[in-house]
Symmetry: C2
Amino acid sequence: MAFSSTIPSCDTSLLLKRSNKGLSNLPKPIFNLKYVPAKVQASHVVSTPLSKSFQYQEVNNKTETIPLPVFDFDDYMIRKGKQVNKALDESVPMQHPEKIHESMRYSLLAGGKRVRPILCVAACELVGGTEDLAMPTACAMEMIHTMSLIHDDLPCMDNDDLRRGKPTNHKVFGEETAVLAGDALLSLAFEHVAAKTMNVSPERLVQVLAEMGNSVGSQGLVAGQIVDIDSEGKKISLSDLEYIHIHKTARLLEASVVCGAIVGGADSESIENVRKYARYIGLLFQVVDDILDVTKSSEELGKTAGKDLATDKATYPKLMGIDEAKKFAEKLVDQANQQLASFDPAKAAPLYHFARYIASRQN
Amino acid sequence: MAFSSTIPSCDTSLLLKRSNKGLSNLPKPIFNLKYVPAKVQASHVVSTPLSKSFQYQEVNNKTETIPLPVFDFDDYMIRKGKQVNKALDESVPMQHPEKIHESMRYSLLAGGKRVRPILCVAACELVGGTEDLAMPTACAMEMIHTMSLIHDDLPCMDNDDLRRGKPTNHKVFGEETAVLAGDALLSLAFEHVAAKTMNVSPERLVQVLAEMGNSVGSQGLVAGQIVDIDSEGKKISLSDLEYIHIHKTARLLEASVVCGAIVGGADSESIENVRKYARYIGLLFQVVDDILDVTKSSEELGKTAGKDLATDKATYPKLMGIDEAKKFAEKLVDQANQQLASFDPAKAAPLYHFARYIASRQN
């Protein structure tokens, strides 16, 4: 049974418009829930090791569960992760000048979860495409993400020493090389899609390249970054926080999913459906990130924990309390998965589970 | 009369291969020239205010001149410059978040010579295309160039305070914004071509986007930067110097010309011809830059002069002497223009004059 019938829908546009109205304007009932242990999970719902995720029950005692299709998500992530890592390794071969390629490879191959590339492949396969069609675009998404991490960590930005459990790029290679490695990864992302994608029409590739560019630039990732920087040490509203995360985090996840669907041959309606899905999981990703920053150690996260608290940075737990933030995350999982209703459930399984995975990730 | 018949051709591949052999391997006769005053210029050669450029005479007294077609190059540069500036202004409208757009516009609209975008338009028109077809690509080239300047000027890179006669981007907006403005301009370059180009086939646009990406990345501009940084304070050979400049400067000029030709509808032979032309003027550009650094004041240049000398950076004047560097520049003008032999001379006129213009520029 889907949740859409019992919980008023959260209008996606609320998550996207830069308005004066914040998350406080989301329909009240979304917080009218309490958590129940996973053991009451219905038998038709596959319990994957990743699904420590919450189930929930309305306070009026009408129990609901999300009907996840049978699917081994752990295996899926391992298989796709291997393929992505192989393709990433090949995308930046060691060559002259060695230093820049070492630096690019150091961060690109540092073993992240590959959420963006796997989402890209999953969206391509959702609409009938193959992994091969999506792989150059999937790699490009990871290149862009890595660029943003390298530049974020710079002393003039977040000044971080630790990333994915390793010293940050500039700590190893120096600041000037870190700036250039980011620039090189960003330009390679576009070159890689344009030069390495096979069996996708140029029309679709041009669409992908426009979407990618938009997701990084001054209306995308960079927009989120600059507002984030400007808000440090200031009291900011939920709507500003939402703006930051939609741009800083959600936009690239959205581009990953949308571009995957485009190279997979999706029609415009399907592209819009997966775009909405991606917007929900994008915001979810950041809410969970904020929760982890409060609840986990640096060792567990593989990066400096408690930093947001220390720097007086606005976060969801700080603005709505840790429990409400967790409930909000749950709500976003449901909203995301409702966008997949029109697709073949078997093909949509990876994306259904992705939302739960993001909600329940521990680092 | 073309020079090709009297002066042995300098094999383009010498300028492009990363070999152990440097410029010292260029055919000896190129330095076997002496300068003669411009007044001996043949009557059919239009004397533009920009043509203070050298003519030359072989030491065996066979006088030769470059047969420049009649063309008002000053007027051309003014007209095209205005069009480019208008298009650039429109390409980054002021919008939220204001700070990043102010920062992007500050550097993008700082009044450079627009060499790259005008070359792009000129190459498009050379092969039968129109200004409109090329303009988004032309703007993209200036965005990439501006990104490279903003990032180059950062304290962790060249640490420059002055650029185009104005304080550098990070001096005005802060380092973090300067890093982000560069990132945003770089991604916008690709988005702009993909989203704003009209009446060019997607096949050609994908080619353009691949060429652009390659020109910036770890085999292009960034490659030149990293080798340049690594060579500071060290004795470097002419071949290393050549490598730096071909990548740091020439590659983006090459991409500008090649991409202009692609959007203009050029066949592959024409694309290769203009690529060779661009490689010569690309190297020429840097040789002249080095000469100006020695011979001009900061005020005249609009940026810090004598910096290369002060930082013990390898330059052409330092490695071959100022007079030989000037002669080498002249040789490159001829080599460049020889690549245009197969085109309609009237349509090639802007590019013929461009080479002279680059050789004779004063800042």
